[in-house]
C-alpha cells in the first residue's frame, strides 16, 4: 500500500492521510494508491501539512504499518521516550518499530 504522511504545519506533529483528512495515528492511514502526490499538492496548498511525502506500507495485525523503520519511529515517537509516544502506557510499544 501507499501511505501519505507529513507534519502538521502549525504544530509539527506527524500526521497520516486517512482518506478524507489527517490523523495522528498511522493505523488510520488510507491506501492512496497513485493519488498521493496530487493529495499532497492540494493539502500543501491548503497549508494543513508541511513536507508531505508518500511511503510504502503494508497491512499488519494492527493496521497499516510503514515499510521503513524511520517512518515507524515517526508513527510511534522516540523509542527511547515511550512516555512521549502515542502509546505511553505500553512498555512493549517499541517492539512494533523494530
Amino acid at each position: 500500500m501507499k501511505i501519505l504522511t507529513g507534519n502538521d504545519l502549525r504544530s509539527g506533529a506527524v500526521i497520516w492521510w486517512d482518506g478524507s483528512g489527517w490523523s495522528l495515528h498511522v493505523t488510520d492511514a488510507a491506501d492512496v494508491g497513485e493519488h498521493g502526490e496530487d493529495i499532497a499538492a492540494r493539502e500543501n496548498a491548503a497549508r494543513t501539512v508541511v513536507a508531505p511525502y508518500v511511503i510504502d506500507g503494508e497491512y499488519g495485525p494492527e493496521g497499516p504499518r510503514p515499510a521503513h523503520i524511520k517512518d515507524r519511529i515517526r508513527a510511534l515517537g522516540p523509542t527511547v521516550r515511550l512516555d512521549l509516544s502515542l502509546k505511553p502506557a505500553d512498555p512493549a510499544a517499541g517492539n512494533w518499530v523494530i
Binding site: 507534519n7 504545519l9 504544530s11 513536507a51 515499510a67 521503513h68 524511520k70 527511547v80
Partner: protein
C-alpha cells in the same frame, strides 16, 4: 561574561520581530514552505522526525545562571519538559510548535540569547574550551576572541550563503579540549618568543563523510589581525568552494584538493590585500569585550583541601573535577550521562537546578561542553560537597567523566530526519553493560553517530560507532583509534558491521583486549596505538567455537 550592548539588543530584537512576521506570513499562506524554509533555518528552526526542532546558540558554551534558568523554563513552557545539549555546545528542543517559535525567540532575547546562525550555510556557533578562564594551562582566556568572531560572523553579508556550513573553534591552551583540529577553522591563541599574543590557524578539518584533520597554515597571526586573516580564509573558500556537490562543498575538500600550500598562498595574497582595507575591528572593541571576561572576584586564602570522607563524593571528585587556576577553587563537570540515560538530555528541573547552583556557588557561570556535559567552572572547595549532594539527589552526580559511559551520541533515528540508525538505545546499552567496569577500564572516549554526517563525532572516539542503513535494517560499524586532542587522529573501521547486540559485544571484546595487553598507565587509546588493530580485530571477529 559578555553582556549585550545596544547594538546587540537592537539586532536580536529586530530578528525576533522579523521572524514573527515571517511565521505569520507562512501561516496565512503569503509565503510557501520553499520560501520560508531558509528563513526558519537561519533562526535555528528545523523540521525533524516528530516535530519542529529549535537549536539555541550558546556562544562558546558560556551561560549565566539566568540564561540557564530560562532554558529550563522554555523546556517546560514550550516543549515537553527537557532539552538536549549538543556537540556544538548548544541546546535543542524537540517538540516545538511553529506558531510559538517567535515567542521562544523573544524569551531568549530577554536573557541575551538567540538561535541565529545555528543552521544554514553560514558561520555557526563558535566553540571553545569549556574550562576557559578557569584552567591554569591557558595563555589567555580564549572567549573574548571567540566573542569577537561571533560579532564579526553574525549577519556577515559576504558569508551568509557559503558553499556549506562553517564551524570555528578557538582555544588558548596546548591541551585541546575543543576538538579544534576537526573544525573548518581551528584557532589556537598562542604567545611568540617576544611574549606577544597571536593566533595559529588550522584550516580544513572536519568530520562527516570525509573526515580530515586540519593542517596548520600559519603559526602566528598577530592578534590584532585575527579577524582579517579569518576573513581571508573565508574569502578564498567562498570564492572557490564547490557549490555543485554538497558532499564536496566543505572547506576541507577545497584545502585538500588545492593542497595546503596553494590554499595558504591564496589566503596570504587575500590577507595582504585585506590589510590595506582596514577591516580589523578596533582594538578598543576587543578591550571592551575582554573587560567583560575578567576573572570573577575570587577569594584568596580559602582552604585548598576537600573533606573526602564520603566515599561516593570522593569518587566523583576524582573523576569529575579539575584543578582550578585559583587555589581554593575547583572546576566541576556535571555528567549528563547517567547509567542507562540519554546522553545530553536534561529535564527542566535539572536545568534550573544547575542554574541555581551556578548562581549560588560558581559566580553565576556555567559552560556547555562539546561532550554534552555541563561545567560549573568556579566552585569553592568548601562548597563542593554541598553542590555534589544537590546534584546527586537530582540524578546529576554520575562519576563518569571521560569514562566509557560518558558517551557522545547524536539524537540518531529516534529524532533526526537525516539519521540511518538509532544512537541513543545503543548508548544506553553500552552504559549499562560497562557501568560495573568503568573504573577498571579508565579513560575511554566512546562516540556514536547515527549517520555519516558524524554529529556524534565517531571518527574522533577512542572507540567510535557509526550507524548505517543496511537494506532497511540498522547496522553499526566499529572504529578504533580516534582522538580529538592535541594528538588528533581519525578512527579506523575494524571490518564488517554488527547488529545492535553484536556491536555491544564487539566493544566488550575490544575492551578485553585492552585490559589484557595494557601497559602501565596506558589508556585504551595508548594500547591501541602501541599494539595496532590486529589483536583487536582478531578478538572482535573470532568465530565462536563449535559445540558438541
Amino acid at each position: 561574561m559578555y553582556q549585550y550592548d545596544q547594538y546587540d539588543h537592537a539586532m536580536v530584537a529586530a530578528r525576533v520581530a522579523d521572524f514573527r512576521d515571517q511565521v505569520r506570513r507562512r501561516l496565512d499562506g503569503s509565503m510557501t514552505e520553499e520560501q520560508f524554509r531558509p528563513l526558519r533555518l537561519m533562526n535555528g528552526l528545523y523540521l525533524q522526525l516528530h516535530a519542529y526542532m529549535l537549536r539555541v546558540a550558546v556562544p562558546y558554551g558560556t551561560l549565566s545562571g539566568a540564561q540557564m534558568h530560562m532554558l529550563g523554563d522554555i523546556a517546560d513552557k514550550y516543549d515537553r519538559g527537557y532539552g538536549h545539549f549538543t556537540t556544538r555546545q548548544n541546546i535543542q528542543y524537540n517538540w516545538i510548535k511553529l506558531d510559538e517559535a517567535p515567542d521562544i525567540l523573544a524569551d531568549l532575547a530577554s536573557v541575551e540569547m538567540h538561535a541565529i546562525q545555528t543552521s544554514g550555510n553560514c558561520i555557526r556557533n563558535t566553540t571553545s574550551d569549556q574550562y576557559a578562564g578557569a584552567i591554569a594551562d591557558e595563555v589567555v582566556d580564549p572567549r573574548p576572541y571567540a566573542e569577537l568572531i561571533r560579532q564579526w560572523s553574525t549577519f556577515h553579508p559576504e558569508f551568509s550563503f557559503l558553499p556549506r556550513k562553517f564551524k570555528m573553534a578557538v582555544i588558548a591552551a596546548e591541551t585541546d579540549r575543543a576538538a579544534m583540529r576537526l573544525h573548518d577553522i581551528g584557532i589556537q591563541i598562542v604567545k611568540n618568543a617576544a611574549g606577544e599574543l597571536g593566533a595559529a590557524f588550522y584550516v580544513g578539518g572536519g568530520m562527516g563523510r570525509t573526515p580530515m584533520i586540519a593542517p596548520l597554515i600559519r603559526e602566528f597571526v598577530p592578534i590584532d589581525q585575527m579577524i582579517t586573516y579569518s576573513e581571508a580564509c573565508l574569502r578564498v573558500y567562498n570564492r572557490y568552494g564547490r557549490r555543485d556537490n554538497k558532499y564536496k562543498a566543505r572547506i576541507k575538500i577545497l584545502v585538500h584538493e588545492l593542497g595546503r600550500d596553494e590554499y595558504t598562498r591564496q589566503v596570504e595574497a587575500e590577507f595582504a590585500h585585506l590589510l590595506t582595507q582596514g577591516i580589523e575591528p578596533p582594538l578598543a572593541e576587543l578591550e571592551r569585550i575582554k573587560a567583560q571576561f575578567a576573572d570573577p572576584a575570587f577569594e584568596s586564602g580559602l582552604p585548598d583541601t576537600l573533606d573526602r570522607s564520603d566515599p561516593d563524593f570522593a569518587v566523583w571528585v576524582d573523576t569529575n573535577t579539575h584543578v582550578h587556576k585559583q587555589p581554593g577553587y575547583v572546576i566541576a563537570t556535571i555528567s549528563l550521562k547517567p547509567v542507562g540515560g540519554i546522553p545530553g538530555d536534561a529535564t527542566a528541573d535539572q536545568i534550573r537546578l544547575m542554574a541555581a547552583l551556578a548562581r549560588d556557588y560558581s559566580f553565576d557561570e556555567l559552560r556547555v561542553t562539546h561532550t554534552q556535559n555541563i561545567v560549573l567552572p568556579h566552585i569553592g572547595k568548601a562548597d563542593l560537597y554541598a553542590v555534589w549532594q544537590q546534584l546527586n539527589e537530582a540524578g546529576l552526580g554520575t562519576p563518569n567523566l571521560d569514562r566509557i559511559g560518558d558517551i557522545i551520541a547524536c539524537p540518531g533515528l529516534d529524532y533526526c530526519s537525516l539519521a540511518n540508525a538509532r544512537s541513543i538505545p545503543l548508548a544506553q546499552k553500552i552504559s549499562e553493560r560497562f557501568a560495573p567496569r568503568e573504573a577498571e577500564i579508565g579513560e575511554l572516549k566512546l562516540k556514536i553517530s547515527g549517520c555519516i554526517n558524524a554529529c556524534g563525532h565517531h571518527h574522533a572516539g577512542h572507540i567510535g560507532v557509526l550507524g548505517v542503513d543496511r537494506k532497511g535494517t540498522e547496522n553499526y560499524q566499529l572504529l578504533l583509534g580516534g582522538c580529538e586532542g592535541a594528538d588528533t587522529s581519525l578512527g579506523t573501521i575494524t571490518g564488517p558491521g554488527f547488529d545492535e547486540d553484536g556491536i555491544v559485544d564487539a566493544i566488550e571484546k575490544a575492551t578485553e583486549v585492552y585490559l589484557a595487553q595494557r601497559g602501565d598507565g596506558e589508556r585504551f587509546l595508548d594500547t591501541y596505538r602501541r599494539v595496532g588493530m590486529a589483536p583487536f580485530k582478531e578478538a572482535i571477529y573470532a568465530k565462536e567455537p563449535a559445540h558438541g
